[in-house]
């Protein structure tokens, strides 16, 4: 099993690395190529005297190379994998040399060590000590957040009094100041929403920005109110409110939740740039459980996003859901392994009934009124273009119903070209009033539609 060239290139941290990696995928550059079920390795002649040792753990996929590049995975790793995808016969099936087996072993040991550490941390005294210190920190933070939210409430009331019509004539530093205040009071989730909103109102020239801004402001107000009576909310909703405000749930707590074991299909991903923080949300669906799972990855500053699970790939293993009213975000357990590059052929699925999809969304909304987007895999829908509308694209189901595609979606023509006026499967996010496509499936292949969407 190997990933396709497109999937491998998607693992590269940036376009330049992908290009450089392609340049390395040439037999003349490599020697000592080998592999077995678990890993691949090879020696690549670089500019130095000694060739670089590149190796790939196929289950991750994880990369290692002793070149000095700070890109990860480096071009040698990408090149090695591409070469394998193109010409697997060049890799001799042998036992791994010392330097490869050492690495694989150290990877296993690391996860064992982690488990041992967790076991150690789970002694009653350790737990009690941790909880005590946590308690103290939490109380302090709660106080801070309450201060911040009080300021936010006053600020929102001012906005309501002055109205949105004059919003654009006010300086953007008001927003920055409010966001900074929220950061100071330990509510980073709200801070980034305020900052994003502040940027968005000066950006787009189109109509209707007032309504979008008003919606977001009303959501902030709603969160503020929900937090004020947090104790009276159901437990799941408490988690939603707290994580929206900016409380992070520690990974240990998540991994302590019961896991869900399944075969997980990667249906799509959404990358976003928010100030200096980049994020990538990968959406998976369990084959037998039918559950959605979202894997979030972040990068800060000039650092690149870690390689995301490739589109169309299949993973087998356990995920742990973050506690929530509507559990979506997950962590992968250590047993999560890449087992396939493309989904198995399925019998033709029933065409999507959009009204039913929206009804499911309404139920989700009832469970979590703070829901911003909701994954939907729409079977047998056809892109329809209407140049007269502000959002020119929509997706039409076989029964003639249609959902509007988000006006910010930039790849309408690409989707149209793939479909050719015929029905296909489109995966994406329902955003309340419009749909944002993230991937399409036709001719037995997945196509990524994420990217270029502001």
């Amino acid at each position: 099993m190997s990933l396709t060239a497109e999937q491998i290139l998607a693992l590269a941290p940036d376009a330049a690395s992908a290009k450089a990696g392609t340049g390395q995928a040439s037999l003349s550059k490599w020697s000592g190529l080998g592999g077995h079920a678990q890993a691949l390795w090879g020696l690549c002649q670089g500019s130095g005297k000694e060739p670089y040792r590149a190796q790939i753990d196929l289950a991750g996929p994880a990369f290692k190379c002793n070149c000095p590049s700070r890109k990860f995975p480096c071009k040698h790793g990408i090149g090695l994998y591409l070469l394998y995808a193109r010409d697997s016969a060049a890799f001799k099936e042998t036992d791994a040399p010392q330097w490869v087996s050492d690495w694989l072993q150290s990877r296993e040991q690391r996860s064992e060590k982690k488990a041992a550490k967790e076991a150690e941390a789970a002694t009653p005294e350790a737990i009690a000590a941790r909880e005590a210190s946590q308690q103290k920190r939490q109380e302090k933070r709660q106080g801070n957040v309450e201060t911040g939210l009080a300021v936010l409430e006053a600020w929102l009331e001012d906005l309501a009094r002055d109205g949105l019509a004059t919003l654009r004539s006010k300086p953007s530093r008001d927003w920055e100041a409010m966001a900074a205040r929220l950061v100071d009071t330990q509510a980073p989730g709200l801070a980034s929403r305020v900052r994003r909103l502040g940027l968005s109102i000066y950006g787009g020239g189109g109509d209707g920005w007032e309504l979008a801004a008003a919606r977001e402001l009303s959501q902030l107000a709603l969160l503020r109110q929900a937090y004020a009576r947090l104790a009276s909310l159901p437990e799941g909703l408490q988690h939603e409110v707290r994580s929206a405000i900016g409380w992070a749930t520690s990974q240990e707590d998540v991994l302590a939740q019961p896991g869900v074991n399944d075969r997980w299909l990667v249906l799509g991903a959404r990358t976003q740039e928010d100030g200096r923080v980049g994020s990538c949300a990968t959406f998976l669906r369990g084959e037998s459980s039918g559950r959605w799972a979202t894997l979030l990855q972040f990068s800060a500053g000039s650092q690149a996003l870690p390689p995301a699970p490739p589109l169309g790939a299949i993973y087998q293993g356990t995920v742990h859901y973050y506690p929530a009213a509507l559990p979506m975000r997950v962590l992968f357990a250590d047993d999560m392994k890449l087992v396939g590059a493309t989904p198995d052929a399925q019998p033709a699925p029933a065409p999507a009934e959009l009204a039913a999809e929206l009804a499911r969304y309404a139920q989700a909304l009832a469970a979590n009124p703070f829901l911003e987007s909701w994954p939907m895999a729409l079977e047998q829908v056809t892109p329809v273009h209407d140049a007269g509308k502000a959002a020119p694209w929509s997706l039409r189901a076989v029964n003639g119903e249609a959902l509007a595609v988000d006006a910010a979606f930039r790849q309408g023509w690409q989707l149209h070209a793939l479909a050719g006026g015929h029905p296909l499967r489109v995966f994406g996010l329902w955003q309340g009033y419009s749909f944002l496509p993230l991937s399409a499936w036709c001719g037995g292949r997945s196509f990524n539609l994420d990217g270029g969407n502001g």
């Binding site: 060239a5 992908a18 392609t22 003349s28 959501q219 309404a362 249609a402």
Partner: protein
């Protein structure tokens, strides 16, 4: 989202100006939960609407695209994706040309990025048009921006007709070219019927289209255009008449020159000697034929007249009249005091005859370097441009012959020609010429310690032009690894080999069917 009137007004104007009334500002169903705060009411309204949203109904299905012919092999598609990622991007035209030759079209997923790339690149558009396939044409027809740029070819007479009647100038010119290709006489009639009403810019834009399918049937129209008000149009008409074999313009200029030339035979085995008298005056009919119209090389006035007349006489005329081969003609003119002027004119005439498709044009171009014309290099620097007008096979014949001439004479022009051929993007020369060219490159390499900027260009040219069918010759003829300057060159050589290997893979990707 739609808001009740009061809520909307309060939101925009501010509650200090338009107080928010919970009784009228929210939907009746929400009265109980909305509260008095504008934001809370808005959040409730928003949630209520999102939860109750229904899909639009009764949407018409779009017209589906007709089924496409053969898809490109998966290996070729993978290569195309690499090209679009920027790896060896210069090979994109090669890919498109190969796809066209194999009768396959662009994969659907690549259509949109390629169509977008082609928007600013006419050369790419031309290559892309024949491989768009049904899906591509269906797509283009729905997008007005693309539809304006991707003008249909000859296969769609109705579209051509429409473009000719209503299109923008560039589209009308493309349509006229297509019409000329289909039926030259009818195209001329169409052009003639509206000629008097066309604006001067349009006349200048449309007239060059007559070069396709040019024949004596066009002569009367072109002769009339010699009297056009616009100088540019007169120049184009003159050039076309000079290209046209057997035109009266050529005959008039030849007769004028014959009156000025006296040829004195020197007996068996020796070239005759030419004596030239400069023209006395330039009268009106001469002016009409372009004499005195341009003087690109800052010659004397009367010399420029000679030059202008020489331009309009096909070179074969002299070879026949004097009964000497092309190289002889060049030498006879060379020996004259006005040799440079005559040769310049002759080179221009050779260029025009190449455009006319004369079979002898290649012989003339070869003769420029092969004959013992001592200052062939001082002749107009654009000999390589002239050779570009030849059909591909003849062009390669000229390239090969120039390469064989030796480094001082033919090779610089050969390399210039090669560079122009390379810029076309999808040309590849024969194995024999490839070997010769690589040999010349290796020879140039040995004479230098380190690559100059122009050498880097030559390496790029080689990467574009050399044959990639059989790759062994690529490993031969390089300097020994022990060569002292090898380190300066290694990178260039490795890049060249890598580029050619990639191209080799590209070519094979269309024919090797692994899947």
């Amino acid at each position: 989202m739609q808001l009740p009137v009061n809520m909307h007004k309060a939101l925009l104007a501010g509650t200090s100006r338009v107080p928010f009334e919970p009784a009228t500002g929210v939907a009746p169903a929400l009265q109980a939960v909305a509260g008095h705060s504008l934001w809370q009411a808005l959040a409730a309204q928003d949630l209520w609407q999102r939860a109750g949203l229904l899909p639009a109904a009764g949407v018409e299905a779009p017209q589906p695209a007709p089924a496409d012919g053969a898809a490109s092999p998966r290996a070729a598609e993978d290569i195309l994706l690499l090209l679009m990622r920027g790896l060896h991007a210069e090979l994109l035209p090669t890919w498109l040309a190969l796809a066209h030759a194999q009768g396959v079209c662009v994969p659907h997923a690549c259509l949109v990025p390629l169509l977008e790339q082609g928007m600013g690149k006419p050369a790419l558009r031309e290559k892309l048009l024949p491989v768009l396939g049904e899906r591509g044409r269906w797509l283009v027809a729905q997008n007005p921006d693309w539809n304006a740029k991707y003008v249909a070819g000859t296969d769609d007479a109705a579209a051509v007709e429409l473009a000719w009647n209503t299109g923008a100038p560039a589209q009308r010119a493309a349509a006229l070219r297509a019409m000329r290709a289909a039926d030259p006489a009818a195209a001329l009639a169409s052009l003639q019927s509206g000629w008097a009403q066309e604006a001067a810019e349009l006349r200048a834009a449309l007239l060059p289209c007559l070069e396709a399918g040019l024949s004596l049937a066009d002569e009367a129209f072109l002769e009339a255009a010699l009297d056009d008000k616009r100088k540019e149009v007169r120049g184009i008409a003159r050039e076309l008449l000079a290209i046209l074999p057997g035109s009266q313009l050529s005959a008039r200029c030849a007769a004028r020159l014959a009156a000025l030339f006296t040829l004195q035979p020197k007996g068996e085995g020796q070239l005759p000697v030419l004596e030239v008298a400069l023209p006395e005056a330039c009268d009106k009919p001469m002016k009409r034929d372009g004499v005195g119209a341009e003087n690109p090389y800052h010659m004397g006035e009367k010399q420029a007249w000679l030059f202008n007349m020489m331009q309009c006489v096909p070179p074969d005329y002299w070879a026949q009249r004097w009964a000497v081969p092309p190289a002889g003609v060049l030498q006879v003119m060379q020996a004259n005091d006005f040799g440079r002027v005559l040769q310049e004119g002759l080179v221009h005439a050779i260029g025009l005859s190449a455009r006319a498709g004369a079979a002898s044009a290649a012989d003339w171009l070869v003769a420029i370097h092969a004959s013992k014309v001592p200052n062939a290099r001082v002749l107009s620097a654009s000999i390589a441009d002239k050779a570009m007008a030849l059909p591909p096979a003849a062009r390669e014949h000229v390239l090969h012959a120039w390469l064989e001439c030796g480094k001082a004479k033919g090779v610089p022009d050969a390399l210039m020609l090669a560079r122009q051929m390379a810029s076309d993007g999808s040309v590849q020369v024969s194995p024999a010429t490839s070997r010769l060219m690589l040999g010349r490159l290796q020879q140039m390499m040995r004479e230098r310690d380190a690559p100059s900027y122009s050498m880097k260009l030559e390496f790029e040219t080689m990467a574009a032009l050399l044959d990639v069918g059989e790759m062994e010759y690529l490993e031969q003829g390089w300097p020994e690894p022990a060569w002292a300057h090898w380190d300066n060159w290694r990178q260039l050589v490795d890049e060249l080999k890598e580029a050619l290997r990639f191209k080799h893979t590209l070519h094979r990707s269309f024919t090797d069917n692994k899947e």
